[in-house]
Symmetry: none
Subunit: 182 residues, 4 copies
DNA sequence: TATGAATGAGTCTTCATTCAT
DNA sequence: AATGAATGAAGACTCATTCAT
């Protein structure tokens, strides 16, 4: 709830995405707090991971809402989505990297959001804006991959933070757009 | 019964890409051998990771060579590269996921290969085949991300194994190609 | 509950002198702490052995100092030395039993102390108090052996704790003393 | 029974006395045979230790017999005993160092031999040849200690192999003898 | 809230032992 | 008889977690 808590989770997501075996000690240090405090925020490592997933899901859902992806032009919707996703990249990267947990509610929640995104690409295909020789499911998966790549590229300085949003959006849109040449 | 070293590494790569926190026990089981035998092949967990990196590097280098990326049409070169990369996807995915080690020689080796790939995109930009509003470095990073996403999508059944190569190549090419519309 | 580092080392020395193959678990139990705590005190088994050697060396040096062995009558000096050594018997026994490590500084430290003790017997020979048909080096070695035997004899109840000091000193002095009969 | 077997045991005794944690591999190497062969000679590590104890006991018993310690002058008997013990020093050193096993028969066997040696010193005390202010048990224990010290001193070159017997005997005899001065 | 001690649980690593060559 | 592969069992080591300060 508190602002602190979210900051801790951001730090944890960033670290864990890079180094999944990081110890609670390292996570605490990365978040600038002590082990004991980390333990007071989260009952244990499992609870921390759970919270990370839940926050990631919540943020992703919020981004989908804010981008209002069910409305209008699909390419524009994708641009809005990437724009709203930008600050949540570390969290999403963790979500798509942590390819193992996802149980019960979390899994259901993820499926719901993933279905919304897949639906966006399907709508694009129906509207003739998205190529039909790529499945919508793959387009969604590709978006996750590109967001992760973008976050990582920013992290290690290969692209400027301000460029990330455009780079991801442009490559994705170019890749999925139905063009005259095809 | 003797399981080849490379087979063990494949199994380890596949598992670790999905579950970076997998224990030596799980890795051994995934490779169909006992923990002790795993330890006979690799001195310890660190040595295993190192071997994984080295094999991944070697395979990636071999793919770049086999695709002969320095020659001819860049889009065709990319298609050949993705084709030759296909079977090494789990290994490469591990390489780009394991964002933490990479020291000394391994790091230098990676830089060399990455420079070759980045060079390919640069050549495409000079030849007018690749858009110039995306940096070559980002294009390379995007390829890694899409390969990982493809491997993962195949793994969890979202796309057919036989489609993976085409899906990755098409999306990437469409995304980076300089088109008339732009 | 906090058990002092030195107490742990005492317990370890006592146990290891008797049972050199004792596991860390047994050592921890003997010291009244858990294995994990033992590991917090000493980085590993090697570090424990090292610490044991260092403490033994320090105690032996302190005993030599306290006994003021460079002064006066040699037989009296030996008696004082045995007296001051008494409480450190397990530690010294370990030092002379653990005939395998002794590297670098530890080895140098031991040589220095051993030289002091050997020097004491040499002085005795020069003063006519110690027989010259036994080498000083052997006399020193014999002292180590007798101290270990004494510690062991006390441990298994063959001699009374209060008698140990006298038994060792008397036998040693009788053995090395230049007598009228010889 | 075979000569080989005894040679292996000698090598093992020498090594284990110095380094009780030596692995079967190291023992095999020290004996100049392969692991497999070592395993063919002895069912396992425990069996090896048992064999070591039994051989040591047998040799010690043989030495007591050969020295005919129940007869005549006690100091002379001790000299004969040390002389006969000389070549078995490593074995005896192992026996007195391995202060932990000794179960069942082995223990009983040891007690019997130890009693014989203790009896020798008692006889000396009765005959007025051995001081009575040292217990016979301690004298026996001291002999073990001095034999071990002697073997070790020879091993690391502090005393000449040919001097060992005399050094041990002289120091011991001087130490236990009832002298005019006392 | 931070720090340090302490430990149970679980992972990593080694070793004795067996078997096939 | 020796060597190398393979593994169960056992020991070494680490970490998440708790508690006291």
């Amino acid at each position: 709830m508190s602002v602190d808590r979210d900051q801790v989770l951001r730090a944890a997501a960033t670290l864990l995405t890079r180094k999944a075996t990081a110890s609670m000690d390292e996570i605490a240090k990365a978040a600038g707090i002590s082990r004991a405090t980390l333990h007071r925020h989260f009952a244990g490592r499992d609870a921390l991971i759970r919270a990370l997933e839940e926050l990631g899901l919540a943020r992703f859902g919020a981004a989908l809402d804010a981008a209002d992806i069910e409305q209008g032009d699909v390419p524009q919707a994708l641009r809005r989505l990437v724009a709203h996703t930008r600050d949540e990249a570390p969290l999403l990267a963790f979500l798509t990297t942590e390819n193992q947990l996802f149980e019960g509610e979390v899994n259901a929640g993820w499926d719901r959001l993933d279905a919304r995104l897949t639906g966006l690409f399907q709508r694009g295909q129906e509207r003739g804006e998205v190529r039909v020789d790529l499945t919508a499911a793959w387009c969604a998966e590709a978006l996750y991959g590109l967001l992760g790549a973008g976050a990582w590229a920013v992290h290690n300085g290969r692209i400027a933070p301000n460029d990330m949003e455009r780079m991801v959006a442009e490559l994705l849109l170019g890749g999925v757009r139905r063009s005259m040449e095809q």
